[in-house]
Amino acid sequence: MVNLFEEIFTYEFMIRALIVGSLVALCAALLGVSLVLKKYSMIGDGLSHVAFGALSIALALNVAPLYIAIPVVIIAAFILLHISQNSKIKSDAAIGLISTVSIAIGVITISLSKGINTDINSYMFGNILAMNQSDIILSVILSLFVLVIFILFYNKMFAITFDEDFAKATGIKANRFKIVLSILTAITIVIGMRMMGTMLISSLIIFPSLTAMRVCKTFKSVVITSGIISVICLFFGVILSYVYSVPTGACIVVTNAIMLVLFSITKKTIKI
């Protein structure tokens, strides 16, 4: 076991994956609590598809992917949020439309551009080698930004998630909070998706908070527990993927799923 860790830490790409991965896992888990409780978690899923389209365009234009993907995904987040508030269009249908159109644009762009030697597979399901040195610095800065803003907005996050009408009636700007939440989610998804893949990134948002809610009963304990669970799952997922040479994103999803099952069983046994 010790040898395994020594071996892993000799590879720079593994260290990178663990650093960026745990930061993204932490951000996603913290935001996930509000997103899941507010029933916005599908917006996260939709945004990851938008990010796929944006990334493929960035690569075709030969621009650093994060510089294009982040603004595009933030704009998409605004649109989705606006639609979900507008009752005339159903938001699940809107997410479906935007997701598929983005994937379609991404696939067409990739097949048209020559000289891109990354295959669709690594976009869809993630690639641990996808990040270079400059990406990693930007990713770390952005995730720290997300964490700081989250902490500053924590109390509002709770109040609005728990009872939006009360918050609005007593003079809290709920819409401004939603904008902040969607920007933070957009950033987290873009940073995380190259490692986790388009198809799997939303699991980082959904799983940890659901797992924590099996056992914890207060908002604060759910937020803290889901953050810890998420980082632990990421760590084991990355190691698992190294040992068995299987895709990292998929391993992280599986460890999260195992954790959810374990917590559900614990809850039942505690009740008895």
Binding site: F158, A169, T170, M213, F219
Partner: protein
């Protein structure tokens, strides 16, 4: 001293005019009961006052220095989804949030206020319990404590006793009356006409349009009051 003035207010609910040309005023220290049948626009009117529904016509003005972040609100039904993780303390404390300006965290004073309110409603001994595990009466007490944390001058209650059993209803009514006696202005939407007549300082009866505005005594003598009271006694 007037603190709230509604003038010719019209509000739509799902494209139907729910509140039609309603005008009334609220004085400092008033206990206003808004009466009316189901679907008469009571809740919509209250939501308009709180800024949750768009006002189509007319004006709603807070006077003499009342700001929206100085009032408390008890919603008619707070549909909190099942298994929402929140302790009583977290919910009550969130009422203090509207008095914070730029500072994002609660001060010692806020926490003390929350504790004080929980004591007032006898929920301080279960403050770490999950909100979801509480009975209807306990939940209502938690929400009233939260509303009082948010409020300095005006408390707006939308059917605070709906779904509570008679014993708890009585206790809840007593608390509301006490709060009013301590100087808090209260606007309460209610079905309970007998309670309103005994305790309110002003009665407003609406059926989309304003049917009556005045004291309980005047209400008892009025046509609409007699009709409504009669209906209640027989029903």
């Amino acid at each position: 001293m007037k603190i709230l003035e509604c003038e010719n207010v019209c509000i739509n609910y799902d494209d139907v005019r729910a509140v039609d040309n309603v005008s009334f005023t609220v004085e400092d220290g008033d206990f206003v009961c808004i009466l009316g049948e189901n679907g008469s626009g009571k809740s919509t009117l209250v939501k308009g006052i709180l800024g949750l529904e768009k006002i189509q016509k007319g004006t709603i003005k807070y006077l003499n220095g009342i700001k929206p972040n100085e009032l408390g609100y008890l919603p008619q039904t707070t549909i909190v989804q099942k298994n929402f993780p929140a302790s009583i303390y977290e919910v009550v404390l969130s009422g203090c949030l509207n008095s914070k300006k730029i500072i994002p965290f609660y001060s010692k004073k806020d926490k003390q206020k929350a504790l004080e309110m929980m004591k007032k409603f006898e929920i301080d001994n279960i403050k770490n319990k999950s909100y979801q595990e509480l009975s209807g009466g306990q939940q209502q007490r938690v929400l009233l404590a939260r509303a009082l944390c948010a409020s300095r001058k005006l408390l707006i209650l939308d059917e605070p006793i709906s779904g509570l059993d008679p014993v708890i209803t009585k206790k809840m009514y007593q608390k509301i009356k006490d709060i009013n006696k301590q100087g808090m202005t209260i606007i309460m939407v209610s079905h309970d006409i007998n309670y309103a007549i005994k305790n309110a300082s002003k009665i407003i009866h609406i059926k989309n349009k304003l049917l009556f505005e005045g004291t309980p005594k005047e209400y008892e003598k009025s046509e609409i009051g007699k009709l409504f009271l009669g209906g209640c006694h027989h029903g």
